[in-house]
């Protein structure tokens, strides 16, 4: 079942000057899909457009079969899609638990309690630090808070923008493992990663974007082996 599809998307940050020139991306239930490509290819832009953060000039965005083109982020969250930005992704002056509770802002009280249990069992270190200000956490833990916040409403889809950016290789490995866990619990994941090889390795499928257009697509493992993709930006 297709959960999310971007169809022929032409979009940009303003009403003119598009950054995406016709991008097609699909996310099926149960999948992990990565968007990779060189710098400035429009990877993050493509993902953000799915979350209502861009002006769509042409094409459409569907969640399931519902057209959500040019909906606002507040509305999209309520349709079961969560987004974890790359930077400024936690409320730094709020405690870990408060961050998570806000993730369930529009859910009922019992739903929030269940969400907290689920997130704490996925990220046990957060339970210990739940009364700490999240601004004081390490980069990796902060990323966990951000992902935990996104998982609180029990979304169908999680969008991750460069989840391992700025993390040490050890933490990056851990985050990739967590992404697999999240996926195993039934949430489809669409992510953009600089760390393309590792991302594709855990992905069911991947898209390679170049200059705001689709260049390649295939299974994660298939793209890693692809010579052209490798030469282009996987570092040989």
């Amino acid at each position: 079942m297709t959960l999310l599809s971007l169809e022929g998307l032409v979009a940009g940050y303003g009403p003119d000057v598009p950054i995406l020139h016709g991008v097609n991306i699909r996310l099926q239930a149960g999948e992990i899909v990565s968007i990779v490509g060189p710098n400035g290819a429009g990877k993050s832009t493509a993902m953000k457009s799915a979350f209502g953060l861009l002006n769509v000039h042409q094409g459409k965005i569907l969640i399931g079969t519902e057209d959500v083109t040019n909906s606002r982020p507040e509305a999209i969250v309520r349709k079961g899609v969560s987004f974890v930005p790359q930077t400024e992704n936690v409320f730094a002056s709020l405690t870990v638990q408060e961050n998570l509770e806000l993730g369930g802002y529009f859910n009922s009280r019992s739903h929030v309690a269940a969400g907290l249990d689920r997130v704490y069992s996925l990220f046990p270190p957060l339970r210990e630090k739940r009364h700490q200000k999240s601004g004081l956490l390490s980069g990796g833990q902060r990323q966990m808070v951000a992902m935990g916040r996104a998982l609180m409403p029990d979304p169908k889809i999680v969008l991750l923008d460069e989840p391992t950016a700025g993390l040490s290789p050890k933490y990056a490995d851990e985050i990739f493992k967590l992404i697999i866990d999240i996926n195993a619990s039934g949430t489809a994941v669409l992510m953009v990663e600089q760390n393309a090889r590792q991302a594709l390795m855990i992905s069911n499928r991947g898209y390679v974007l170049v200059d705001g257009r689709n260049r390649h697509e295939g299974t994660g493992a298939g793209l890693v082996r692809d010579r052209e993709v490798a030469e282009m930006f996987l570092g040989g």
């Binding site: 940050y13 832009t45 400024e88």
Partner: protein, 330 residues
């Protein structure tokens, strides 16, 4: 015939005040329009100029500091210099602050100036103020006295406009406008941002001091309550915003437009019966406030749009380019 003379005198008075406000609005345009400095203490610099000139020119009375008996040719530049000095002291401390902090600081300065004027009776006459200030040309007969003073004010306003316009087009003017639009870029290209902003602030304040002096001599009296300080500051801001900040022409035309409205509406409301005439000023003030809101919303660049950016914004912490701004960034 008397009615005619009345109208002519009214026209002279109107034009005189327009000239004075045009200088003030030009001063504010140099501070805000060109340099991007948020001054809500206009009345403070105005008062310093007014009292300085009053003290320097009046005869000794024993009721306030005085007895210098200087002619206005010395007193007015001195008034400007003292306002400039105060502005320099404020600017040295506050110029690096975010714009709204500077605004609060200037409110504070105006308040301190007011307290000093009220409390230091030996120098300022306290709440009674200073009276018997000489007005240039007052010995002329009939309307000539008013006309001559008006000519002086208009000549000064023209000179100020010419200087401000040459300043705006000069390399100095281009640099301060560049700082207003993008402080970091200007700093990166090696401009002494602080010094230039201090200059803009001081020049503007000197002009406000001059208008204080002109007003004191025009009214022949100055006291802490002679002018509603907040009202002066407010009117000058409305003049600049309505005219179009960044444009000297806009400042002058805004002054002419708003003061004409302000004054002629007073003429009309003064005929209202008793109680209403007392309350009419507040209706006028409210309406001027509405005009300000209307222009801010519908004519962001003012009525005299120059095509330049009307409102300087100095983003202190630019959000990453990929975020969406629901709220104004800074």
């Amino acid at each position: 015939m008397d009615i005619l003379i009345g109208y002519v005198n009214y026209a002279i008075a109107l034009a005189t005040m327009i000239g004075i406000y045009a200088i003030m609005a030009t001063g504010l345009n140099i501070q805000w329009g060109l340099t991007g400095l948020f001054n809500l203490g206009i009345a403070g610099f105005f008062a310093v100029g007014a009292y300085s000139s009053a003290i320097l020119t009046t005869a000794a009375t024993g009721k306030h500091l005085g007895g210098f008996d200087l002619p206005v040719v010395f007193a007015w530049p001195a008034a400007m210099a003292l306002s400039a000095l105060l502005a320099w002291a404020v600017a040295r401390i506050c110029i690096r602050l975010r714009a709204d902090y500077l605004a609060i600081a200037t409110i504070g300065i105006a308040e301190i100036v007011r307290l000093v004027l009220k409390n230091e009776q030996w120098a300022t006459g306290g709440t009674r103020g200073i009276s018997n200030i000489s007005r240039p040309f007052e010995d002329l007969t009939g309307m000539w006295a008013g006309l001559a003073f008006l000519s002086l004010v208009l000549a000064l306003a023209a000179a100020v406009y010419w200087l401000a316009e040459s300043g705006r087009l000069s390399p100095w003017g281009r640099v301060v406008q560049a700082i207003r639009d993008n402080e970091d870029a200007a700093r990166a290209s090696g401009k002494d941002v602080e010094a230039l902003r201090i200059q803009g602030f001081v020049i503007g304040a000197a002009l406000m001091g001059l208008t204080g002096a002109l007003t004191a001599h025009y009214l022949k009296f100055i006291g802490p309550e002679a002018t509603d300080p907040l009202q002066i500051t407010f009117l000058v801001w409305v003049m600049l915003i309505v005219g179009g900040s960044g444009s000297n022409k806009g400042a002058v035309l805004g002054a002419a437009l708003i003061w004409s409205l302000w004054s002629t509406s007073e003429l009309l409301t003064s005929r209202l019966p008793g109680e209403w005439a007392h309350r009419a000023p507040f209706v006028r003030l409210f309406l001027v406030g509405l005009i300000l809101q209307f222009v801010l919303q519908k004519f962001p660049a003012g009525l005299m749009s120059t095509g330049a950016r009307n409102t300087p914004s100095k983003p202190k912490k630019p959000s990453s380019r990929n975020t969406v701004h629901v709220l104004p960034p800074f």
